[in-house]
Symmetry: none
Subunit: 209 residues, 4 copies
Amino acid sequence: MPKQTFFNLPEHKREHVTRCAVSEFARQGYKQASISRIVADAGIAKGSFYQYFEDKDDLFMHIVLTEIGSIKQTAFEEGRDQLAQMNLSQFLRHIAKAQLEAFREQPELFSISLDLLRMAPSEPVYEKLMQTVEGAYNTFFLPIIQHEIDKGRINAKVNARMLNYMLMSINQYQLSLFNSGEASDYGEEAVDALMDDLDFILSSGIYNQ
Amino acid sequence: MPKQTFFNLPEHKREHVTRCAVSEFARQGYKQASISRIVADAGIAKGSFYQYFEDKDDLFMHIVLTEIGSIKQTAFEEGRDQLAQMNLSQFLRHIAKAQLEAFREQPELFSISLDLLRMAPSEPVYEKLMQTVEGAYNTFFLPIIQHEIDKGRINAKVNARMLNYMLMSINQYQLSLFNSGEASDYGEEAVDALMDDLDFILSSGIYNQ
Amino acid sequence: MPKQTFFNLPEHKREHVTRCAVSEFARQGYKQASISRIVADAGIAKGSFYQYFEDKDDLFMHIVLTEIGSIKQTAFEEGRDQLAQMNLSQFLRHIAKAQLEAFREQPELFSISLDLLRMAPSEPVYEKLMQTVEGAYNTFFLPIIQHEIDKGRINAKVNARMLNYMLMSINQYQLSLFNSGEASDYGEEAVDALMDDLDFILSSGIYNQ
Amino acid sequence: MPKQTFFNLPEHKREHVTRCAVSEFARQGYKQASISRIVADAGIAKGSFYQYFEDKDDLFMHIVLTEIGSIKQTAFEEGRDQLAQMNLSQFLRHIAKAQLEAFREQPELFSISLDLLRMAPSEPVYEKLMQTVEGAYNTFFLPIIQHEIDKGRINAKVNARMLNYMLMSINQYQLSLFNSGEASDYGEEAVDALMDDLDFILSSGIYNQ
DNA sequence: AATGAATGAGAGTTCATTCAT
DNA sequence: AATGAATGAACTCTCATTCAT
């Protein structure tokens, strides 16, 4: 956990440091992320960094637990409220778009999620995370899927974890499109088209007949 | 391309070195993989490594092109031959199981595939790979999907690239199960169960009714 | 250019590091000079070195431009002031002795000059140097020679570049005497004798009659 | 000394190996010269090299003693024969041109000479050389100068070693012109012009009056 | 609390030399 | 005698972390 010093910081500075760190972890992945670049970016001294955080792992865990955790919280709570008023197809599209909205605002957090997904379980930071919160960051869609199953809207035969993986892969796919250089072109319509495609598969499966 | 020296090696040694390298790249990802660890693992001298390969990139590209390339080749060709004699559901299960067979033999190669998927396009080794083979390693299922669409068995409305991503995510999912420590328990039945689940989604979509 | 960190150092430490580097470059030449030896000599950590300088080239260029440049500056300016009050023979002796004085203080800088003279023009560091200062370090005596020709004191038929090479070779000769192990014996008288010899050749040529 | 194996080689092969080595030492200097490049150039196996020579030093010493020694021998003997029939000016020009002829045929040997001139006396190979032949390779012109002094044609007041250094510096100067990219233009006339310039200085000194 | 210089282990890579075939 | 794979020390450079100010 970050040291008290970090929480004593004026909020805008705390935010700024966090943002720079998120950006670095997203671009480089956990291990290759460089503290030097983060402090240079943030315009703080190296020593200060170590007065805010125990070490690299401390910073990383803070981001994963706080930032990613909060997005999930938001998406889930928002989602739950609106679930009542839509049919399933609409809702999945809605939440997907909300996701994409968040993704456009903070695509970096998704990068970090995906990095986590690939992490060797033997990686010390991974083990530490696991002790703190069981697998929560790679189950982004899981609570919602479960909720839909409970309500009988998603077929109970569906393997929820598998579906979660699939939906996360769509984020990755989107990220790859987004990063293909056509980023500026990647507007509302592209998102809609993609969601149509997703909707199609999830509604009908892939086969003819 | 590896140097002649490498190809002159007795096969078991060549295999051994390759295996150690694959294992390191799979565990650590391209950038964090350490030549020092590879040679320590393989029990060869650092200097020997550089008699075999130009540099780290050379080794990595060799693995991606040769090892991963060959798996794809095998799976695809084998698959194509058998496509005629099965219905689609059977076939997808078959090819998935063939995949899983290969995956159980060399789960590391999938890790490497996934690492490639996340690689920054500006990464020099990525650019070199792209010049050699256009995007082939992250489109594992694409040719088969396309083939099925052409034959009219997969609905033409299906976004092939998206489906490819989804199927790759299943590999990742499988990898995560496999690596959860229950690896020894992960037998034929688990594979079947998983494929049933996949089949279900791909056949019916996920919704009730 | 060295990083700000280097210039922030207490002067005695900055001097010490520079001295160790000069000594290494002089003894080994640019390419064979070893950063490891320099930091071991200077008693600093490897990492510290790279907080001071971008890389080996950065250090080398700094030495060439600053250390050698300043000697030339001093010798030349001092020389120009005194040119008016002496005949040519006296002046050349004077400037030669001034040179030799500097040479006794920092014989290593001459070694580095001579290394530069032999450097392949394709050597990257050589090209960088050339972009920064056009050929200045291997034309030590050229401006003064030119000045004397302009004033009509050196015969206009003299090939100035050739003479510059000759005078530089005298430095080299002196260096070789200096380094022959008799260094401690190499006093004022030896310098005078050598300058007499030089003066003789430059005054009369070498032939009888 | 090279091993017997080397002398048992057919002459053309022995010559070829020597030539490749000379070329490498000239281009790179003693320390940076690479045995790998030499054997690659010469088209022989690494192991063969070490059956011909004890080590790198052995090869280098062989070249210095044999190749450079023979040139000096030739130039000196040839020179002595012709000294009787010319005046001094003519002779020095002649021998200079003979030198330059040799230089155009084997400029590499001069590079090696100059490398030796710069070598740290503490360099092991330098010490070994010194034990074998006292300073012979950096006194190219010395015997001839001495001979001329003895005959009374060069003024006895001339410091012979200094003059030797000067004349060697002219070789270096020539080498630098030769290597300036105008190598193909560097014909008989350029040599003559340069020798005129040299002759002028040596005849009259550099001063007006 | 803030600073930034100091640290040293470890990265990829090169190369003279050895040795089994 | 000839081969070329094997070796390991040394190279330049990076980075998370510490510590004196």
